[in-house]
């Protein structure tokens, strides 16, 4: 894999990777699970659109309006192709994955949605898991509070896997929606979607995946997965911030009520009522993040040009290397699977007796190593492991084994400072 995967050439596409930090330190960016860096190809497409083609989309009757609309809608085509959506109209642009998750949650128990699959009240149940990012917890808590439905969740095993031992008791005829992470943003665990989905189908519920940590890193095909909804965000996939994606099966989007009301989401408006545009526009009220959507299209083009299989292979090698190298740091404990089976390139760990904030600060200040420290917006998962925080290194297509060596050298130094 490493022979055909030219990481040095890829690194040249990302200008920030060659910048020097204050004090002459090189940058070692191991925080792509938080947000990824951007290649020149994305920056240039966005710059070019702003410089020469920019106008509002879907409503302007002039050349720029047509060019801008064409570019925006062609980004939708690219997203649809990238995730294997059967129909481009199943791609809804949002501002991030959180908005996509909220949009779906808002469709349940909503008085203006009479579709029985979305009717929700006391006695109905919502199922999530203990390893979720707050963005796949809080919208469902709010939904449960609005409707009186019950929120339930899968536990996580000591190894950092989804505990499916009580799958049949947890997902029942009372369940309306199951929403879990495709890949954990802390543990790196890739969840067994097919097993959960089989049960979801048995009981006639719907299933959503938070794919924020999977779509950027490996081939994801919504049709092959067979779920009902999938959310991800652009900025973790070498695209800009401010743009996210909801994919949903077309007939579900048709059944769902609008989320935000405003311009461009309507068909006709009277003073006392409105009819709505068909999906996806029904869910895209107001001027959308135009240049960001176009930037996301360019980002997915960039990733496709390298190949998602190749990227996944590279990250797998890095993860294997990291798990082995980190295993040699005394007092270091990996929180999450220690093998490469169903696992992505995110490695979280604790260092005995040293708080992650101190770890992160010294790694940054002395070695230019950027990691994330804290609870990574997954506080319940940290509570489950009885720890307040972890240090997280997350890898992407531009990372190298030498950068993992720098991390390990840094950790040895951290231990010396606090010895």
């Amino acid at each position: 894999m490493s022979t055909e995967f030219d990481v040095e050439r890829i690194r040249k596409d990302f200008p920030v990777l060659s910048r020097e930090l204050p004090g002459g330190r090189p940058l070692v960016y191991l925080d792509s699970g938080n947000s990824s860096q951007k290649p020149t190809q994305v920056i240039e497409v966005m710059r070019e659109h702003l410089a020469s083609h920019y106008a509002n989309v879907g409503r302007a009757m002039h050349v720029l309006g047509a060019e801008s609309t064409e570019a925006y809608e062609s980004a939708r085509d690219k997203v649809a192709t990238f995730v294997g959506a059967p129909d481009r109209d199943e791609i809804v642009f949002t501002k991030n994955a959180s908005e996509a998750l909220n949009l779906v949650a808002y469709a349940f128990g909503n008085p203006i949605n009479e579709d029985p699959r979305f009717v929700m009240g006391p006695g109905d149940e919502i199922v999530i898991s203990e390893m979720e990012h707050h963005s796949n917890i809080v919208p469902w808590q709010l939904l449960a509070r609005r409707t009186g439905a019950t929120l339930r969740w899968f536990s996580v095993t000591d190894e950092g896997r989804l505990d499916l031992s009580n799958l049949d008791e947890l997902v029942t005829e009372r369940t309306k929606i199951v929403s879990i992470a495709h890949q954990s943003n802390v543990l790196g665990t890739v969840n067994p979607v097919a097993r959960v989905l089989a049960r979801v189908r048995q009981v006639g519920a719907l299933m959503m995946l938070d794919a924020s940590q999977s779509v950027p890193h490996k081939p994801v095909d919504v049709a092959a997965l067979g779920v009902d909804f999938l959310a991800f965000t652009g900025h973790k996939a070498v695209g800009p911030s401010g743009i996210g994606v909801l994919w949903a099966r077309g007939e579900l989007l048709e059944a769902m009520p609008p989320f935000l009301g405003g311009g461009e989401m309507i068909e006709a408006v009277w003073m006392d009522r409105s009819t709505y545009a068909p999906a996806p526009h029904k869910f895209e009220a107001g001027t959308p993040p135009i240049v960001e959507a176009i930037g996301l299209g360019a980002a997915l083009d960039y990733l496709s040009s390298i190949g998602m299989d190749a990227i996944a292979g590279h990250e797998r090698e890095l993860t294997g290397y990291a798990l082995e190298a980190l295993g040699e740091v005394p007092g270091l404990k990996v929180i999450g699977p220690r093998d490469l089976q169903d696992r992505g390139g995110t490695v979280s760990f604790t260092l005995e007796g040293i708080h992650p904030h101190d770890v992160g600060q010294i790694l940054d200040d002395e070695f230019g190593v950027a990691v994330r420290v804290g609870h990574h917006c997954a506080r319940p998962l940290h509570l489950r492991f009885g720890i307040p925080a972890t240090t997280r290194a997350s890898f992407y297509l531009y990372n190298t084994p030498a950068e993992i060596d720098a991390l390990v050298r840094g950790l040895h130094h951290v231990r010396k400072v606090f010895a």
């Binding site: 004090g23 330190r25 708080h355 904030h357 200040d365 307040p388 606090f418």
Partner: protein, 144 residues
């Protein structure tokens, strides 16, 4: 490099050997403060005696070296002083922490707490240093 100025020997010393740690009786008020961005937390008790003399500041919590050392230094500075005196130290400490590294610390007022001057240059860590001190201020108000 830069952090060297933040991780002063005195801070590391207090972190490794915290002074006055552990919750004790008697106390007039107890508060619990958290830093939601990092999950650091502290429970603090204050006992004020005759003439506004601070008889004990006891605490327990978890967090980074900065937040834990700050609690330890606070315990040393506050115990035995009057509430009025300690509040002026709190005020000077807050001014230093919020000064983005541009405030000249008053060592006369701050004593050992002057070791935290370097933290002010790291906006993300200022809250860590202030956690125990804000909890103390709150506890003193509630003890009155």
């Amino acid at each position: 490099m830069i952090a060297e100025s933040m991780y002063q020997e005195l801070i590391l010393e207090h972190y490794k050997h915290p002074q006055g740690r552990g919750l004790r009786d008697p106390f007039d008020s107890e508060v619990h403060h958290v830093n939601p961005t990092c999950g650091d937390e502290i429970t603090m008790r204050v006992k004020v005696g005759e003439g506004g003399k601070v008889e004990d500041v006891s605490y327990d919590g978890q967090g980074c070296s900065i937040s834990q050392a700050a609690a330890s230094v606070l315990h040393e500075l506050a115990t035995g002083s009057t509430v009025e005196e300690t509040l002026s130290v709190v005020e000077e400490f807050t001014r230093l922490m919020q000064g983005r590294g541009k405030v000249e610390p008053d060592e006369e007022v701050l004593g050992d707490a002057v070791a935290f001057a370097g933290v002010a240059k790291f906006p993300a860590r200022v809250k860590c240093a202030l956690l125990a001190w804000m909890a103390y201020k709150d506890a003193v108000v509630r003890s009155a």
